[in-house]
Amino acid sequence: MNAKTADKIATGVIYAISGIVALILFAMLAFILVQGVPHLSWHFLTSPARAFEAGGGIGIQLFNSFYLLILAMLISFPIALGAAIYLNEYAQKNHFTAIIRTAIEILSSLPSVVVGLFGFLLFVVQFKLGFSILSGAIALTLFNLPLLTRSIETSLAQIPDLQREAGAALGLSRWETVLHVILPAAVPSIVTGVVLSAGRVFGEAAALIYTAGQSAPALDFSDWNPFNISSPLNPMRPAETLAVHIWKINSEGIMPDVSAVSAGASAVLIIVVLLFNFSARKLGMKLYKKLTSA
């Protein structure tokens, strides 16, 4: 075959392949939005789910998802920040650092179902926390830690060494330099990383089905005392999240309007995740403008 013909054919094939990929995504998004958005209503977003009859909502699941997300971020952010600071600012190139880096890499590649089962074994069974928001938040933390650590470390590594030298020249200790010079400069990209990982955590289900549980007991939204069992803030209650809800009602198949509810819930899930991804960059840019002289 003529080289020029081959070139033309190959180009055509590549265009066709990319076209198919684009088509698949548009079809998927369109499917979810067309199927799901008509179901979205104030009633759907706020009322509790119903197991055996049509017309239930996702109110409790939606609240659980956000609550779990916030708790998981509260636990994982300080740990990830500390670990990233050590890795980027203090760690020397030695065996210890290499082993820890490998460990983080392995943790990030573990299937989330294994992380969930570990959480089940240790927190639900061993520590007797039961199926609870707390167990779920810890499982999500384990799932989130390696990715968040790496993204914060990358943000810190992007700050030029000139800044560190300037800090040292002013007589600041390394810690003070990190706290007052490096971190403020890295805040925008750290925030971007945190919000992006929040999107991932929000949609996670496999790590939660055996830690936060698959039931959503009725909540009393007028009771904000975290020690009451029906209070939304109680961290010891079982809490089914939105993603787990979609999985559960589809595998059980006893809810009469299961495809309507899951389409609506999927639409909410995707819209929230897309909002996270979209706002991550915006927020990062805004903070950058505010915190630096740029």
């Binding site: 080289a3 496999a206 999985w247």
Partner: protein, 307 residues
């Protein structure tokens, strides 16, 4: 005088703060290390007790073809704990998904980096990012409402099975492989392209004979990452594969994977029983496989590092 000596000998406040900060951040790092060790210790101790405490032979477990841990085989007085159907199911969906996804991923990344850098990247980049962000249960739901009925119409039968699982996983790992391949292709030095074109190669010859060759290790890494993701994916696969722990006889008959059996079973068994232990052994296999994928990536990185 004494005061000054004292002040000079003492650690300054800054140094003090630095020591504390260093200790705190090291603790956080060590915590992650401990978590990894704990995960391995717990899952391995649970998973291995099938062999040590319950006396199941490794051979029966890995190569047995009947999975029904709650029923005892009257001939051998042992429960049916052959995990081969799930192991095969897992590997089959993983490899098939990777085989289907690879050409699409490479084609798309070539469009983004070589053929239509500006327009292609502008359209495809957000698409790839969007695909990465979609939660796996949503993929499962789409699989259940679109892919399964589609397969049912074509092949008859229930529509659940390896084929549906493959299609769902293909879409899930496509963005992973594509974005990593794009990064690799971008890191191929510009002068490779220029020299190829200068000696009269067409664009396709340049891509095929120079760029893809020099990017092979990176592309392989991307594929292995995609496979690792497919192998560990639980809920999306579980929703479409049919969950029958049988040896797969065809692509459109119900089957199961390690993850699907785990998610279905672990809540219905009693801790410490054999039925429960064998499930932990499946989890152990998942854990070890993700380790293997990790090692493969490292081996590729070491052998194929671009010079």
């Amino acid at each position: 005088m004494d005061n000054i000596t004292k002040k000079l000998m003492q650690k300054s406040e800054s140094t003090h703060k630095d020591t504390i900060g260093r200790a705190v951040s090291l603790t956080a790092l060590a915590l992650i290390g401990i978590v990894v060790v704990a995960i391995f210790a717990f899952v391995l101790s649970r998973g291995l007790s099938t062999f040590f405490r319950d006396g199941v032979s490794v051979k029966d477990f890995l190569f047995g073809t009947t999975w029904n841990p709650s029923v005892t085989n009257p001939e051998t007085n042992q429960p049916y704990i052959g995990a081969l159907p799930m192991i095969i199911g897992s590997f089959l969906v993983t490899f098939l998904a990777a085989i289907v996804a690879t050409p699409f991923a490479i084609g798309t990344s070539l469009l983004m980096t070589e053929i239509a850098q500006k327009r292609g990247a502008k359209i495809m980049q957000p698409i790839i990012e969007l695909l990465v962000g979609i939660p796996s249960v949503v993929y499962g739901f789409i699989g259940l409402t679109v892919v399964v009925p589609f397969i049912r119409n074509i092949t008859g039968g229930s529509g659940f099975g390896i084929l549906s699982g493959t299609i769902v996983l293909f879409v899930m790992i496509l963005p992973t492989i594509t974005s990593m391949t794009v990064d690799t292709l971008k890191s191929v030095p510009r002068y490779y392209r220029e020299s190829a074109l200068a000696i009269g190669a067409t664009r396709w010859q340049m891509i095929y004979k120079v760029i893809l060759r020099s990017a092979t290790p990176g592309i392989m890494t991307a594929i292995v990452f995609g496979m690792a993701r497919a192998f560990g994916e639980a809920l999306a696969v579980q929703m479409v594969i049919g969950n029958a722990a049988l040896m797969p006889t065809g692509l459109a008959t119900p089957a199961s994977t390690l993850t699907s059996v785990l998610t279905m079973g672990i809540g219905n068994t009693v801790m410490g029983s054999l039925q429960n232990d064998v499930l932990w052994t499946l989890a152990m296999i998942l854990l070890l496989m993700s380790l293997v994928f990790n090692l493969i990536v490292r081996a590729i990185g070491r052998r194929g590092a671009m010079k």
